[in-house]
Symmetry: C2
Subunit: 316 residues, 2 copies
């Protein structure tokens, strides 16, 4: 039986994704009829919707035949609270997303740990042969131990870092000291010299890095944000950096992207901007994840990476 | 029976090391009488010599009672070819040396892999959202798979990098494509985007990074040298960098240290100087390695980390 799939992204996305998706459906042994949302279509006629927040679909009500919505994005904050969405929502979790994030986080943790910037830019030709502490003497906190946070924390622990993980609900992870709940958050922050944000963007995490959060961080600590710009109150962060309470912030995600040329982050001596490169969805890999979920759904098996929407709905 | 140990380092070294060594000997259950070389002593009266190339002992002939010479250094190039040394020589291999080297190598490989420098110094506020290749698509060559090279290669492979190891004699290492012998060296170099030198300094490796070596490297490749400055012919390296054949060199070791302020490496836009911080011997850890070897020697067990001096002697 033919499975009917709507691609609800931009036309440019269709051109990029369609060949990869077709290959992946064929590899999964599925007979799929897929159409782009820009083509005339009967909303009630689809079994599955592949969704991008950059596409036009914001009202899911007309799509009455859907068995599920499969997001192309890892971050589903623009979709998960949508009250017209009444079928399961899955997020994109692919190996290349995880791999890219682990590389960015490990690289920038090591950069700050080793004090590389003072060697990369050293106009005074200073030769300070003092060795930095070794990783076991460097405390790193990873906030969020989900599909991205957990492998980052595990990799850092594997390199020898003293890693604390913090999550809202209890979690355990080999080699990582796990704390959870609102009361424990400041304990995780107080001890850490490097803090890595890997929480999803939800109503509960929006603006979480505020004056109180920053005050709970250890003096001289470094903040890494490869998660979402909306987690950080920018003025509060700039204030903590200006006062020298934080020694540096390295930010891959921003409230507005590309970061506007007149944004104070660009010129701040304690800020490094990276252009949202930590974690990229690669269509070849991600299409296989989409196809596997369609295969599972059609076979009556549980879907992978289903979003728990209870908090997003409660938080509206 | 009391074991007689001579500490053949500088007086400043004695002050730093003696307390750690005494603790380590006591922990190993040894009754040791240890004296510094600067004190009056009978050269024939010692069972073991703890040796630093910064100390005064260059003629081992008068030390007729020695069972072995235990170097405080990982690099033994200044000692291994010494014809007056006729007893076993051990090098320093301690966990903190390995840990520090793995951190430096992993950090700088990730720095070049991720193109961090363009983000750390970005006066034009350029936002280039092109994601770098993932580690499996980045070829790294590690030259030397000894006590330092092997864990670096394994760690890089564990992060997903496509790692080739090259050694003079055949070697195998999980997850690393191993090549060996003079003919295979250029194959290892030709494919690598990042080349890490982790060979010891011997007569065979002195000046190994010369015009021919650099010509065998892939255009645009990066060289990391945390091994020994004497492996590199500096003028040949500068020439390859000036021509843009190599895109960067990050050098932790230098022929003269500290690197003189007028050295061209300091101002070269394609060179990063780090001040010999990759791998530091820490007296607390290293003293335990020395004490374990004295214990082994006294118990008639094989020593750890014995230097194979056949090539050094042949190369004289």
């Amino acid at each position: 039986m033919t499975v009917r799939v709507l691609f609800a992204g931009r036309d440019a996305g269709w051109d990029e994704w369609a060949p990869h998706l077709r290959d992946a459906f064929a590899e999964a042994g599925l007979d799929v009829a897929m159409v782009p949302v820009s083509r005339d279509h009967d909303p009630a006629a689809f079994d599955w919707m592949i969704h991008s927040p950059k596409g036009p679909v914001e009202d899911f009500a007309p799509y009455t035949g859907l068995k599920g919505v499969l997001s192309l994005w890892a971050g589903v904050e623009r979709v998960e609270g949508n009250p017209t969405l009444t079928v399961p929502l899955t997020r994109m979790v692919d190996d290349s997303l995880v791999q890219g994030m682990v590389e960015w986080v490990t690289g920038h943790v090591l950069r700050h740990h080793l004090g590389m910037d003072a060697h990369i830019v050293n106009p005074d030709r200073a030769w300070d042969g003092t060795a930095p502490p070794l990783a076991p003497d460097r405390r790193v906190a990873v906030l969020g131990l989900g599909a991205l946070g957990a492998p980052c924390a595990t990799t850092l622990a594997g390199l020898g870092f003293d890693v604390t993980g913090w999550t809202r609900k209890a979690r355990s992870l080999d080699g990582v000291r796990c704390l959870h709940g609102p009361e424990a958050r400041d304990d995780a922050l107080a001890e850490a010299e490097i803090v890595v944000l890997l929480m999803p963007h939800t109503s509960a995490t929006q603006d979480m890095v505020d004056e109180a959060f920053l005050a709970a961080m250890a003096p001289g600590a470094v903040l890494l944000n490869p998660a979402r710009g909306a987690l950080v109150v920018e003025d509060d962060l700039l204030d903590a950096l200006d006062r020298g309470h934080l020694s540096h912030a390295t930010l891959d995600t921003h409230r507005v992207e590309p970061l506007p040329p007149d944004h104070p982050f660009w010129s701040h001596p304690r800020v490094t901007v990276t252009p949202h490169v930590a974690s990229h969805t690669r269509p070849g890999v991600a299409s296989k994840v989409i196809a596997e979920n369609v295969r599972r759904g059609e076979a009556g098996e549980p879907l992978l990476h289903v979003v728990d929407r209870s908090e997003a709905m409660a938080g509206r």
